[in-house]
């Protein structure tokens, strides 16, 4: 019975969320902020691994990250909408719809063509955003302070409240995604990754799988962008720049596509490497990041997620025996 409980997706997620929320009370404020940012990036990374499970990698998730961030920012500034949870939800819907619109075009391409086309979308958006002075041009603009169900937390607690919200959102999304990955459509996506033609000959559409996964990835990317914008209190066109998209790919490669929690861990590692390198090696932090990625690819080619998967597989086998 205990093993069944430990194997339960919801129990695992609730346990992890509770632990992290409690930990947030004791960890320093800078770390609370780093974890929140890592969750924002992790949400985008989750989108990319959803695509990776269907055999695609997007180099342009900055596109939806930017749209999500700007949606939250513009709604805050111009519509007076400051509720963080509502903004995250709206950003998910808006970018999901954008994803659904462009997915049929992108889903016709594979491999590097898909990746580069997605990158092209993000760069076009970047080019547009830096030219629009009404929304701050290349400087971007400041977001109003967030509220939660009409309550505005004091400055001392603002970061922690957003941290709690981001953990709850990430946990909820993770549960849904794990259900999706374990479902028949999730399994078919993995089959598409391996042999698209065979999937078609079995009567399923690889195109539909790509559209669905891109739409999910877009929604998550937008939500991540909104969370990042809210956490920083600022949004600018860098959200859509190709280096930002590169960081999401970095997270996804480091995590691998086998595990959901691994994505957040990878995002946290990225944030920590960036924070420490930026502090102690301000001019060479990309070098540190590059070396870190090379070592990851050499020593854990299937990503951190392979450790998680091996652990749970062993756990399940022990349970059966």
């Amino acid at each position: 019975m205990l093993r069944n409980l430990l194997n339960n997706i919801i129990f695992q997620s609730v346990f992890l969320m509770t632990t992290l929320i409690l930990m947030g009370i004791f960890i320093p404020n800078w770390l609370v902020f780093v974890v929140t940012k890592a969750i924002a990036y992790g949400l985008v990374g989750l989108g990319i691994i959803t695509l990776m499970r269907g055999g695609l990698v997007s180099f342009g998730q900055g596109f939806v990250f930017g749209i999500g961030g700007y949606s939250a920012g513009l709604l805050g500034v111009h519509a007076g909408l400051t509720d963080a949870i509502l903004l995250l939800f709206i950003s998910f819907i808006v970018t999901g719809l954008v994803g659904l619109i462009i997915a049929p075009l992108l889903a016709r391409y594979r491999d590097i063509f898909f990746a580069m086309l997605s990158l092209a979308f993000s760069m076009v958006l970047y080019g547009i955003l830096i030219k629009i002075d009404a929304i701050g041009g290349s400087d971007g603009f400041v977001l109003p302070e967030s509220t939660y169900f009409g309550i505005k937390p004091t400055t001392d607690y603002a970061d922690y409240v957003l941290y709690v919200v981001s953990i709850l959102v990430a946990g909820f999304v993770s549960i849904l995604l794990r259900y999706y990955y374990n479902s028949t459509p999730g399994l078919i996506a993995l089959a598409v990754r391996e042999n698209e033609l065979r999937v078609e000959y079995l009567g399923s559409s690889a195109f539909k799988v790509a559209v669905l996964n891109f739409t999910i990835a877009a929604g998550l990317g937008g939500m991540g962008g909104a969370l990042n914008g809210i956490a920083l209190g600022h949004i600018d066109p860098e959200f859509t720049y190709w280096t930002t998209s590169g960081e999401f790919v970095f997270i996804s490669i480091l995590a691998g596509y086998l595990s959901v929690p691994a994505v957040f861990l990878a995002a946290l590692l990225l944030e920590l490497v960036r924070s420490f390198s930026g502090r102690y090696f301000p001019d060479t932090w990309q070098l540190i990041l590059g070396v870190f990625l090379i070592l990851s690819i050499i020593f854990i080619p299937s990503g951190i997620g392979s450790f998680f998967k091996n652990f749970f597989d062993t756990f399940s086998k022990n349970k059966k025996s």
């Binding site: 479902s183 459509p185 078919i188 089959a191 065979r198 999937v199 078609e200």
Partner: protein, 257 residues
């Protein structure tokens, strides 16, 4: 109006060329429900091209293909599969990193009209069905092994089992014994025949081994340079002069001896 109502599958005046190579030359074939038909011919005779056109991978340059009276000439493989024509491949098209069990699970998932996003694919009902399929194809012992590690004959059977999950009306098998050792061929075909027995199924298979052709089909269609040179019961086709000359090569062998 063409009368194709009595045929399960009809190919009418099919022509297909790849540059100067004629892969189908005015091919006319009618297949009735329940037939076990083998397609024979030397390499490049047009057997696999015919199969690829029936399953939508290739489109004929001219001519039409009908299934249950409905034209399917321009449909894609997915739609044709959904309509009831499944196939296996000369080189098994299976999902290499997955186990045999998971491969069948994917096949089962694709065969369903609707799949829930929140229901575990490894449900008890699905598991029971897959275990039955594995049993039927004598694949139980390989169920949880990664398919990339499996021997050729087992991979062939799995490929066919996956095609059968959808319960098609027609099953096309592209060289089911190719790449399989001589001693494995009959056990594989026996397993296959046993697995297919009791199914209301029409089987069309491409095969080079004439003993297998005689033992497992009740009708033979012989191809040569894209054209059908003989079509009928086993005895008639294998004794046909053109078939002996261009396909089985027995006339030549006799002449030499």
């Amino acid at each position: 109006m063409l009368d194709i109502s009595n045929n399960l599958l009809s190919a009418k005046n099919i022509n297909k060329s790849f540059g100067a190579v004629i892969a189908a030359n005015d091919v006319n074939i009618d297949i009735q429900k329940g037939e076990k038909v083998s397609l024979i011919g030397s390499n490049g005779a047009g057997k696999t091209t015919f199969m690829n056109m029936v399953t939508g991978y290739l489109k004929p340059d001219t001519g039409n293909i009908y299934f249950k009276g409905e034209e399917i000439t321009k449909l894609n493989p997915r739609i044709i599969t959904q309509k009831g024509i499944s196939r296996s491949f000369q080189i098994p098209q299976i999902f290499e990193p997955m186990s045999a069990w998971e491969n069948l699970l994917v096949a089962l998932g694709t065969s369903k009209q609707k799949n829930s996003f929140f229901k575990d694919a490894r449900s008890k009902n699905n598991a029971r069905y897959i275990d039955e399929m594995l049993e039927r194809f004598s694949l139980n012992e390989f169920a949880h092994r990664q398919v990339s590690e499996l021997p050729g004959g087992v991979r062939k059977l799995l490929d066919i089992a996956m095609a059968l999950v959808r319960k098609p009306d027609i099953l096309l098998l592209d060289e089911p014994t190719s790449g399989v050792g001589a001693e494995e061929k009959y056990p594989l075909m026996n397993t296959l025949a046993k697995a297919l027995s009791g199914e209301d199924l029409t089987v069309i298979f491409v095969e080079h081994d004439m003993d297998i052709v005689q033992n497992y089909s009740d009708r033979i269609i012989a191809f040569y340079q894209g054209a059908v040179i003989a079509d009928g019961n086993n005895q008639d086709v294998l004794n046909d002069k053109k078939v002996k000359e261009y396909v089985t090569g027995k006339t030549q062998v006799k002449a030499k001896s």
